[in-house]
Amino acid sequence: MLVKKPADIQPSEITPESVYRRRREFLRTGATLLGGGALLPGLALAQQGDALKAAAPADLARTPPAPWWEGKFAAIEPAPSSEPFFTSEALTPYRDVIRYNNFYEFGMNKSDPSNRSGDFRVDPWSVEIAGEVARPGRYHLEDILKPHALEERVYRLRCVEAWSMVIPWIGFPLADLIKRFEPTGNARYVEFETVVQRDSMPGVRSPFSIIDWPYREGLRIDEAMNELSFLAVGLYGSYLPAQNGAPIRLVVPWKYGFKSIKSIVRIHFRKTQPNTSWNDLQANEYGFYANVNPEVHHPRWRQDTERRLPQNLFSRRVIPTRLFNGYGEQVAHLYQGMDLARHY
């Protein structure tokens, strides 16, 4: 059995050092709130969010999936003010980020994931670490997150459907997690798998869908170890909504959005290149690499420009798409000597 024996003291019972150190600030915040006559749960979070580049509107703030999440989100390192972990491009409003999603487990329409994910369960959540690692096992998400301090990153997201967003994520570098579980020399690829909750996912039950669930994605190990690769547990300073891939998802901003797999339950270190869902379905449309590249034609959508969302029919923002989504400085070396038109 891979379920880890709980430690004597639950991680949730321990106050993180960063929070402990900020107790004065916390007291001050509390006093201000009391003075204002409004002490609502979640407001302390909103206050802390002030230092972040972006916080969710107070009326849309989310409740934590479990109490321990609140501690985890108490101290978040704000994004820096320079590329690549930040972009000064206008953020896509929170409302649009959480209402316009591709998450076919909940349905094909962009509004399905937000409208039809009400029954999705994110607590308890465990992630299986498998394959070529020194420390395989099934871990509670709380234990997975425990050693990682959360930080904010503002990334561009480019969907293969030729629309794009700018999103302030909360999370931690994927490389930090990978190092912790000590992959062996044989670990050349990392495979990720999305949860399948048949009862809460109408898209999985659809008779007309031809995806072979669970959804799978993968990266080469050096791509996974790149400083840009990010595991997100929140956005706009708040917890991830189900439709955005709660409770934990991948963000690889130089690749088309479908690579950034949602609601991860399995991370498998492999010697060989894993199959990925879209590649299995339509190999001529979706390659393993799926790097954003305006030069490589796609059978379905023009990739030379993108519609930056939100769009308005009368003032449309259509911008040229950049190679590697503008992150070439960080990732171009990964593909040196490779024919990108062949390895699309």
Binding site: T92, D96, R99, Y100, Y104, M108, K110, S111, E161, W163, S206, F208, S209, I210, I211, L281, H297, P299, R300, R302, T305, R307, L309, P310, Q311, N312, L313, R316, V318
Partner: protein, 201 residues
């Protein structure tokens, strides 16, 4: 009670404008969400296909009910199908392609769903141009020959829809079944008629 044919025709005309009114209302209320271009392309395409299928329903309806009314409105419903197909093409050209004219050729060559959709539209345009009564008279027997192409246009529209769908084929199956039913009915009728003639001989 009999409804004067003029009034009935007017009612059908008004009905044909309802989808346009709905689309405009959705645009004004910005119901189309953060990516209206994609949504508009989808809805105009859907309406055009629905009206094309509706056009194909009218001849069988007349044959089954004996009411001439159904054939009287056939041209108008067909022209509405052309109208929404043109809107669909315009949304594609303006909002999705951004009037980059040089890109049109590339799109037609590279993307089969564009090629097929465009071919379907061209047929509808040809049928629309030859739809006035004067043209019917002038073309004589050729008119009917040309207008049989409506079946090709409908089949191409379904192929276009199937090609655009990414993984869920529910809509294609739904509209495709209706078209299959309508074409099947015509084949069956034709077969029954020739069989009947043969028996008489």
């Amino acid at each position: 009670m009999t409804i004067p044919p003029g009034a009935a025709k007017l009612a059908v005309f008004a009905l044909g404008l309802v989808p346009l009114a709905l689309l405009l209302a959705q645009i004004i209320r910005s119901d189309f969400g953060p990516d209206p271009a994609q949504e508009l392309a989808g809805s105009t395409g859907e309406w055009s296909l629905r009206l094309l299928l509706a056009t194909l329903c009218l001849t069988p309806l007349r044959q089954l009910t004996g009411k001439v009314f159904f054939v009287r409105i056939r041209r108008m419903v067909g022209l509405f199908a052309l109208f929404y197909a043109s809107l669909h093409a315009f949304v594609w050209l303006s909002l999705l392609l951004g009037f980059r004219w040089h890109a049109i050729g590339e799109e037609l060559l590279e993307r089969p769903y564009v090629t097929v959709g465009f071919a379907s539209l061209l047929i509808l345009v040809a049928l629309g141009i030859t739809s006035p009564k004067a043209m019917v008279r002038r073309m004589g027997r050729n008119w009917k020959r040309l207008h049989r192409l409506v079946y090709v246009a409908a089949i191409l529209a379904i192929v276009h829809l199937a090609w655009v769908s990414r993984t869920d084929f529910g809509e294609t199956v739904f509209h495709g079944s209706i078209l299959a039913l309508l074409l099947g009915y015509r084949l069956w009728r034709r077969f029954a008629r020739t069989a009947g003639q043969a028996a008489r001989r």
